[in-house]
C-alpha cells in the first residue's frame, strides 16, 4: 500500500499518453460490458415471465408460416385477452437499399394490442381499417422518404406474386404512427391484411406470427406452454416467447451472437494488449536509470517487479472501471434503443466482475515482460545508461 503512491505517480508521468491509453482501455471495456450483456441476453433462453405480450412463431423457422385457423384456438386459451398477427412481406420501395419492414396486419387488433403506438391524424385508424389499399407508416419512415398523407406508395414484391401475375403493389398513405412522439427503432410499414390475403397468388390465410395479449401476465410461462402444446402434434407446431425473446430470435438469424461478440472482443483486447504493452515498454525504457536509483536506495528486485507490474495492472483496472461505469450509465438507454432489434438487455454486476477479472489478467499479461526486465536490471549498468 505504501508503494501505491509511487505506482500512481509513475503512471501519470506523461499525463496525455496515460489518459489516451486509459481512454482506449475504457472504451474496450465499455464495448466488452455492452456486448457481453447483449450476448448474455441471447443466451438466457426463453424467458416469458411476467410479460403482457407473447409472440407465437413456427417452431422450426421464422420463415415458416402459421395457418390462420390457429387464431380461434389460441383465443380459446384462458388468459389470452387479445390476438393479432404480422406477416413478413419483403418488397422493395424504388430500390433495394431502401430497406424497411413491411407487414400486412389487421388494423384494429394490431393497434389494440399496441397501445403504445399513436396514430395521426385522428381518423387514420378508421380509414386504415376501412380502406383496402390503405397503409400507415412509422413517422421516421415518412420523414425519411418525404411521404405525406394521400401519397400513393408503390412497392415491388420480391416474394408474393399477385393474382394477376404482377409484383406491383400500391398503397395509399392514410396515417403515421409513433411511440411517445418518436420513431421506432425498427420502423414499420403496415398495410391491410385482407387486401394482401385477397391479392396474393399463394400463401393465403397464413401469417408469420401471432401476437397475444395476456390478462394474467404472471401466467405467461404457463400460457406459452399451453399454446405450444395445442399445436405440438399438428402440421404447424409453434414456439411461443416474449416479445424480447422474439426480437432476439430474429436478430439471431444474423449469426451466432455469442461467437460474433467473442470475435469482436478478441480483436479489441488483442489491440489493447499491443497498444498498452507498447506504452508500458516505452515507459520502462524511459526510466531505466530511475529504477536503478530505486534499487540503489534498497528496493529489492521483487519490489521493483511489483511496482512495474502494478503500473500495468492499475492502468488496465482504472480503464476497466471507467468502461464499466460507462456501461452502467449507457446500458439502460442503449437497451431501450436496441430492444426493437436485439431485445432488451441488462448490464449486471456479474458482467462487471467479469470485466474486472479480465482487466486484471490483461494487466498482468501486459506488465509481465516489462516487470521481468525491470527486475533483471543490474544497478551499475542501468545507472550508466
Amino acid at each position: 500500500m505504501k508503494l501505491f503512491g509511487l505506482v500512481w505517480a509513475n503512471l501519470f508521468r506523461k499525463p496525455t499518453r496515460t489518459i489516451l491509453t486509459l481512454l482506449s482501455v475504457a472504451i474496450a471495456f465499455l464495448l466488452f460490458i455492452l456486448l457481453r450483456s447483449i450476448s448474455a441476453a441471447f443466451d438466457s433462453g426463453l424467458d416469458v415471465s411476467a410479460t403482457e405480450r407473447l409472440v407465437v412463431v413456427a417452431k422450426y423457422s421464422q420463415i415458416d408460416r402459421l395457418p390462420f385457423s390457429q387464431k380461434q384456438q389460441i383465443l380459446s386459451i384462458e388468459g389470452v385477452d387479445g390476438i393479432t398477427h404480422t406477416t413478413w412481406f419483403g418488397g422493395i420501395y424504388q430500390e433495394p437499399k431502401n430497406f424497411f419492414a413491411k407487414f400486412p396486419v389487421d388494423p384494429l387488433s394490431y393497434f389494440d394490442l399496441h397501445p403504445e403506438l399513436t396514430l395521426v391524424p385522428s381518423n387514420a385508424l378508421q380509414r386504415f381499417s376501412q380502406e383496402r389499399t390503405a397503409a400507415v407508416v412509422d413517422i421516421g419512415l415518412a420523414e425519411e422518404y418525404g411521404w405525406s398523407i394521400g401519397d400513393v406508395i408503390p412497392i415491388i414484391s420480391d416474394i408474393y406474386l399477385r393474382n394477376d401475375g404482377s409484383r406491383a403493389w400500391e398503397f395509399e398513405l392514410v396515417g403515421t404512427f409513433s411511440e411517445n412522439g418518436e420513431s421506432q427503432n425498427f420502423p414499420l410499414f403496415l398495410f391491410h391484411y385482407e387486401y394482401f390475403n385477397e391479392s396474393v397468388a399463394f400463401g393465403r390465410d397464413q401469417v408469420s406470427n401471432w401476437q397475444l395479449r395476456l390478462n394474467q401476465p404472471d401466467r405467461a410461462d404457463e400460457i406459452a406452454q399451453l399454446v405450444d402444446a395445442l399445436f405440438e402434434n399438428s402440421p404447424d407446431p409453434t414456439k411461443t416467447a416474449s416479445e424480447d425473446e422474439f426480437n432476439r430470435q430474429f436478430a439471431r438469424q444474423l449469426g451466432d451472437m455469442g461467437f460474433i461478440t467473442t470475435m469482436i472482443m478478441s480483436a479489441v483486447f488483442f489491440t489493447i494488449v499491443l497498444l498498452t504493452g507498447n506504452t508500458m515498454a516505452q515507459a520502462l525504457r524511459e526510466r531505466i536509470p530511475e529504477l536503478a536509483v530505486l534499487k540503489t536506495l534498497g528496493f529489492t528486485d521483487q519490489t521493483i517487479f511489483l511496482v512495474v507490474l502494478g503500473e500495468a495492472v492499475l492502468l488496465c483496472v482504472v480503464g476497466a472501471l471507467l468502461g464499466i461505469a460507462g456501461g452502467f450509465v449507457i446500458g439502460p438507454g442503449l437497451s431501450a434503443g436496441l430492444s426493437g432489434v436485439f431485445g432488451s438487455f441488462e448490464v449486471v454486476p456479474v458482467t462487471a466482475l467479469e470485466a474486472l477479472v479480465c482487466s486484471l489478467v490483461i494487466g498482468v499479461v501486459i506488465g509481465l515482460a516489462p516487470a521481468i526486465s525491470a527486475q533483471r536490471l543490474t544497478i551499475v549498468d542501468a545507472l550508466r545508461s
Partner: protein, 230 residues
C-alpha cells in the same frame, strides 16, 4: 575498533566480448569512521567501480569488502538491498531524483522500505530537508528546482534513513563553482556535525581539497595520497 570500510585485495573484472577488462587490481584500503575521503584519478581509473563496490551496488570478482565489519561479498542480493537501505546514502552527479515526485516525496523514498508510519516518514523527510536548507521547497518537483537545490534534495534523500556512510559520485560535477562550494560545505557539515563517513569521487581538485584525505587511483590501483591505503 572496526574500520568504517575495509577493502582486502579487491579485484573487479569485466568481460567485453572475448576480452577480459581488469578494472580494479587488488585494492587494499581502510577508512575510519567519520572520515571524509576524496577519490581522484583519471577517467577509467576505477574510482566509480570502487565506490559502487563499497556502496554494495556491485560485487567484486575477488577479495572482500567490509563495511562496519559486515562482509558485503558474502551477502545475497536481497540482503544487500536491505543493508544498503539502512547503512548507505548515495549522492550522484546528476541528482537522479524521480521527476514525478515532489522534493518531500523523493526524500521519503528510502523510508518506504521501513516500518515507519506515514506521519513519521513525512516528519523525518522534513527534518532532512531542513538540514539541507530546503524546507521551503518541499512541495516542488525536481523540474521546479535549480541544479544545486536538486543536489541538496538528493543529499537529504541520502541522509534521511540516517546511514553511517555516504558515497558521493561527482556530487559537484554538474554544478557551477559557487553552488558546488555550497554542496561541499554541506557535505563537510554532515561529516563534522553529524559524524557521517563520506567517500567522494571527484575530478575537481578544489572539491577534493574539502576532504580530510585524498586517494589517487590509476589503472585500477591506488597509487598515492593522504588516505590510509594499506
Amino acid at each position: 575498533m572496526v574500520a568504517a570500510v575495509a577493502c582486502e585485495k579487491v579485484e573487479k573484472q569485466y568481460t567485453k566480448g572475448k576480452e577480459i577488462v581488469e578494472v580494479l587490481a587488488g585494492i587494499d584500503l581502510s577508512i575510519e569512521h567519520g572520515e571524509f575521503l576524496a577519490l581522484m584519478g583519471p577517467s577509467g581509473s576505477g574510482k566509480t567501480t570502487l565506490l559502487n563496490l563499497i556502496g554494495g551496488l556491485d560485487q567484486p570478482s575477488a577479495g572482500s569488502i567490509f563495511v562496519s565489519g559486515k562482509n558485503l561479498t558474502e551477502m545475497k542480493a536481497k540482503a544487500l538491498a536491505k543493508w544498503r537501505s539502512e547503512n548507505v546514502g548515495f549522492v550522484f552527479q546528476f541528482y537522479n531524483l524521480l521527476p514525478v515526485l515532489t522534493a518531500q516525496r523523493n526524500v521519503e523514498l528510502p523510508l518506504l522500505l521501513t516500518n515507519l508510519s506515514r506521519k513519521q516518514r513525512q516528519k523525518n523527510a522534513a527534518t532532512a530537508l531542513e538540514i539541507v536548507g530546503l524546507q521551503d521547497r518541499a512541495k516542488h518537483k525536481p523540474s521546479e528546482l535549480s541544479g544545486g537545490q536538486q543536489q541538496r534534495v538528493a543529499i537529504a534523500r541520502a541522509i534521511v534513513a540516517d546511514p553511517s556512510l555516504l558515497v558521493c559520485d561527482e556530487p559537484t560535477g554538474d554544478l557551477d563553482r559557487e553552488t558546488a562550494d555550497q554542496i561541499l560545505g554541506l557535505l563537510q557539515t554532515l561529516n563534522k556535525d553529524h559524524g557521517k563517513t563520506i567517500i567522494m569521487v571527484t575530478h575537481d581538485p578544489r572539491a577534493a581539497d574539502r576532504a580530510e584525505h585524498i586517494l589517487y587511483m590509476d589503472k585500477g590501483k591506488l597509487v598515492s595520497g593522504s588516505g590510509v591505503a594499506v
